[in-house]
């Protein structure tokens, strides 16, 4: 009799101390087909350690130690892994690659784990975490999550989280059997630009294949249709803003690629086919800088920018002093010689770094996007590239306008012999100008390393575009390069949705050909005596 009473108590005590451990160890024994159930079971255990375990699972950090069979969370270090015991939370030493086996999950399970984590985090201290949890549960709504949200709603103090829960509940209520509830839910969603809301509303006015409506009630349909049509204008404005942003960011890339050329080709008149390779050197500089400071990837770009400027600048001065200065006034030979230089630089890079592309990491502050509203979000890397492009433009303009070097550059460009007569050392000015243009190309390469492949062919992809922008904008005019780059970028992005990427590019090229026929000197032709030279 006493024994009978004792047993349940014992079981309870045991379950408190080891339920977590038991549930955890089920993960390793479960064959893939049973893994969902094992995870579900782990999530029901009331233990603070569960969250850490689920997060480790989601982030692919959950491993089984071969032999002992313990489940640990592991982080990579150099050649092996640092292990943390999940039950005690203590460090469990380190292990090699073949000593541990990953508990692997696939996309379906990843979704399930996300939902389980979100359910637990609904009561988290941090409002941001709660908001994320609500959003995750809205995306993968099911009956249990909805009832959890409904329970949370009256308790929630934070306004943003409350609104999010309200939206989630309204979305769930649209599926309700009661007409009044449905109508109320639609009213609650009025003016909401969120994609899910729009989908749900669009579903209401859809017809089935046999012509009957998905939503049986006409009042509900009409209300939904009215809400949708109110959104239409807002959506179009958002779409326009998005296209403009895409266009400006492409324009900024074109500007960056072309602005160095605007100096060497525009101001000096040198057709430099190796311009793309100078950008490539800048991109590789970023790669090397990141190799040298693997612990500070977030700051690596700030080191890479001056480093790339100096490296490409020096290479540029080398090219000018070694080759181009002997060829002034012979554009065809310059073209061929610099083309040779470009092939040479490509092969050098191929030999040193291999023909394979190198992976350049994106700093965390440049990844992701900012959500402006439900229908519009701007990617951060593009945003920074626009800002950076404009900064470089402004800096160059200041150099040309405000410094002595700039004054000399302009003087030499306008009238070489007169400048010489005034005591300007034109040789030195030529070298410095070419170095400046090349350095700027290197800086552009740092920016490009964040957008595209860092490989030996990086330069070739941009050389045509850069010449296009400079010629279109007007040779010898920095403002022309700015306006030209931005115009071409926006035009390309406006055309792309209708014409497709391939045709859009062709159309732009045709446009430029026609434009150059009409105005051979570009958008902003140089005036006065310099134009005759």
């Amino acid at each position: 009799m006493i024994g009978c009473l004792l047993i349940p108590a014992l079981v309870k005590a045991e379950s408190e101390s080891t339920a977590f451990g038991n549930a955890l160890s089920r993960l390793k024994d479960a064959p893939t087909a049973d893994l969902p159930e094992a995870i579900e079971r782990l999530a029901t255990v009331d233990d603070p350690r569960v969250l850490a375990a689920l997060n480790a699972l989601l982030e692919n950090r959950l491993y089984v130690v071969k032999g002992s069979g313990r489940i640990v969370s592991a982080t990579t270090t150099g050649d092996g892994f640092d292990l943390t015991d999940l039950e005690s939370g203590q460090s469990a030493g380190s292990a090699g690659r073949f000593d541990i086996k990953k508990i692997a999950i696939n996309n379906t399970l990843r979704n399930a784990v996300k939902r389980l984590i979100a359910r637990r985090e609904l009561g988290a201290e941090d409002a941001g975490q709660r908001l994320q949890a609500v959003q995750a549960l809205t995306e993968q709504a099911d009956v249990e999550s909805t009832s959890l949200l409904r329970a949370r709603y009256p308790l929630e103090k934070d306004a943003a989280v409350r609104t999010a829960i309200g939206t989630a509940l309204a979305l769930a209520d649209i599926g309700s059997a009661d007409k009044a509830t449905r109508l109320q839910a639609i009213r609650a969603l009025e003016g909401n630009l969120d994609q899910q809301v729009r989908n749900k509303l669009a579903e209401l006015v859809e017809t089935r294949e046999d012509g009957s409506f998905v939503e049986p009630d006409a009042d509900v349909r009409n209300l939904a249709a009215a809400v949708i049509s109110n959104l239409e204008l807002k959506l179009q404005l958002n779409h326009l803003a998005e296209t403009l942003f895409f266009g400006l960011s492409l324009g900024a890339v074109l500007l960056l690629a072309a602005i160095g050329l605007a100096i060497t080709f525009g101001v000096m008149g040198v057709i430099n086919m190796a311009h793309g390779e100078l950008m490539m050197l800048g991109a590789y500089t970023t790669y090397v800088v990141q190799l040298l400071m693997p612990e500070h990837l977030d700051w690596s770009l700030f080191v890479a920018i001056p480093a790339a400027f100096v490296l490409s600048g020096l290479v540029g001065i080398g090219i000018e002093r070694g080759i181009i200065r002997f060829l002034y006034g012979r554009p065809l030979e310059t073209l061929l010689a610099t083309f040779g230089v470009s092939l040479f630089l490509q092969q050098v890079v191929r030999s040193i770094f291999s023909p394979l592309n190198r992976s350049v990491a994106t700093p965390s502050w440049m990844s992701g996007s900012v959500e402006i509203n439900g229908a519009l979000s701007l990617t951060l890397n593009r945003f920074y590239i626009i800002v950076f492009g404009l900064l470089v433009f402004w800096a160059l303009l200041a150099i040309l306008k405000k410094t002595r070097l700039g004054l000399e550059v302009r003087a030499v460009a306008q009238n070489r012999s007169m400048a010489k007569a005034m005591g300007i050392r034109t040789d030195r000015v030529d070298a410095m100008t070419f170095g400046l243009g090349s350095g700027v190309a290197g800086v552009a390469g740092v920016a490009l390393s964040q957008l595209t492949n860092v490989g030996p062919n990086l330069g070739q992809a941009y050389i045509v575009d850069s010449f296009m922008v400079v010629v279109f904008g007007g040779v010898g005019n920095l403002w022309g390069t700015l306006v030209g780059g931005m115009t071409l970028g926006v035009a390309n992005k406006i055309l792309e949705p209708f014409a497709g990427a391939v045709l859009a590019k062709i159309l732009i090229l045709i446009f430029i050909i026609v434009f150059i026929q009409k105005r051979p000197r570009g958008l902003f032709p140089q005036k006065g005596r310099a134009a005759e030279g």
């Binding site: 990843r110 040193i352 996007s369 990617t379």
Partner: protein
């Protein structure tokens, strides 16, 4: 830290490449050798992928020579560099066949390079082993296709998405050239046959090396956010994938919401990418480095010893060359000579174990039977197999899903003896391939 080692690997590889390419020329030549042509680009755009295959061939030939060579003779590799230049492929193939008199050529990567080599190989009656997945709709007497045909890669991948992930809307995104265009044509026909409506299929082509993916990814995002499960089937080639995946990550498209299944992204390509934003996206191949079979572990060890780096990866086309080369060795032994016609006859029906399990068999259409694997990209740049076909899939040269090639079969055994035989009209088209 992986980056530091990879630059070291790159340097040592460079040293090795320059060594190995010089060696065959300077080594004292045995009295008589059997020459094997290696026709892979070592410079230009395709060098990224093809250099590895050249090294694979050198390794395989070295192995065979350690085993005593072939028919009592040593094998000798003749390495040429067609420099990613398609007409140069044809020229170099001619050089290999008429000047060097090679017994077989292992080479080509892109379909366009294969197409430019074809007339030369057929004219001079050579043998080509082509190791890359391709669009099908071809079968030449002189070519053995050891990579996947569409029914060994694209179709099973779509089946997986449709049945296991319940995908209802499809984005077919590709680079604008023959392989993606033909594959997407086949896939579109297949999807429509499965009852997918045209409004649920979006097709998009981009130029080679496309880097500005903003509006296309935004469009895909819009297409995929109608509430129905959407997937992207990507035949985007090589380089352009990196900015594509980066943009996906930046615009917040995660693999669990909108998976991308790629046919041209393997371990080698991933080694040049920051893989964090890619985790969970899919790829379909016949081989993954992560497959745990004794043959595969052995192959990886041999490769890493040969290339002197434990960081180097193996991939699907390498396996194709491994199988192709070993089958050729078997066929030559069976035929007792390296004469093209005898070897070609002996090749059909030759069997050799796949690295991923099962026995590959060369069929009458000059294609292999292979397992099809779907893998999810992991943070370490490897794939984790999430699905695979029950048995082996027999390579089909002419797709059954295109109306124009439905009735056509390839069969290089008598009585048909044709690469383009119409089963309805019972006629072999005059076209040789």
């Amino acid at each position: 830290m992986t980056r530091i080692t990879s630059i070291r690997g790159a340097l040592s590889r460079f040293a090795l490449v320059s060594l190995t390419t010089v060696l065959p020329a300077t080594a004292p030549q045995a009295a008589e050798t059997i020459k094997v042509g290696v026709l892979h680009s070592l410079s230009g755009t395709m060098a990224i992928s093809e250099t590895t295959l050249k090294d694979t061939m050198l390794m395989l030939i070295e192995e065979q020579n350690k085993k005593g060579g072939l028919l009592g003779k040593k094998l000798e590799a003749v390495v040429v560099d067609p420099a990613s230049n398609w007409p140069l492929f044809a020229e170099k193939a001619r050089e290999l066949l008429s000047k060097d008199k090679v017994a077989a050529i292992f080479g080509c990567w892109t379909s366009v390079s294969r197409k430019s080599v074809l007339p030369v190989i057929e004219e001079l009656n050579g043998l080509l082993f082509y190791p890359v997945q391709y669009e099908g709709e071809e079968s030449s007497k002189n070519v053995f296709y050891t990579g996947a045909a569409p029914n060994q890669q694209a179709i099973p991948a779509v089946d997986y998405l449709m049945n296991d992930l319940k995908v209802q809307r499809w984005v077919l995104a590709g680079t604008d050239y023959v392989y993606p265009r033909t594959t997407n044509k086949i896939l579109e026909a297949y999807l429509k046959a499965k009852g997918v409506k045209p409004k649920d299929i979006m097709i998009n082509y981009t130029p080679f090396g496309h880097s500005d993916w903003q509006s296309i990814v935004a469009e895909i995002k819009k297409f995929g956010s109608t509430g129905k499960k959407t997937a992207v089937v990507s035949t985007i080639n090589g380089d352009a994938n990196v900015p594509f995946y980066k943009e996906l990550g930046n615009q917040g498209i995660a693999a669990d919401k909108l998976p991308v299944v790629a046919f041209s992204v393997g371990e080698e390509e991933l080694s040049g990418i920051d893989t964090k934003p890619l985790v969970g996206h899919l790829a379909a191949w016949n081989y993954f480095m992560s497959v745990d079979t004794p043959e595969n572990v052995d192959f990886i060890k041999k490769w890493q010893t040969f290339i002197k780096s434990t960081k180097r990866v193996t991939n699907d086309p390498m396996e194709a060359h491994y199988i192709g080369f070993n089958m050729w060795v078997k066929a030559v032994e069976k035929a007792g000579s390296t004469a093209t016609d005898a070897v070609e006859k002996a090749m059909i029906g030759t069997e050799f174990p796949n690295l991923t399990g099962g026995i590959a068999k060369m069929n009458k259409a000059h294609h292999l039977s292979k397992p099809v694997l779907i893998g999810e990209i992991q943070e370490d740049g490897q794939f984790q197999t999430v699905w695979q076909t029950k048995g082996l899939v027999d390579g089909d040269a002419w797709s059954d899903f295109l109306p124009e090639s439905k009735a056509i079969v390839a069969d290089w055994t008598p009585p048909i003896n044709c690469g383009n035989y119409n089963t309805k009209t019972k006629k072999c088209s005059g076209q040789k391939y």
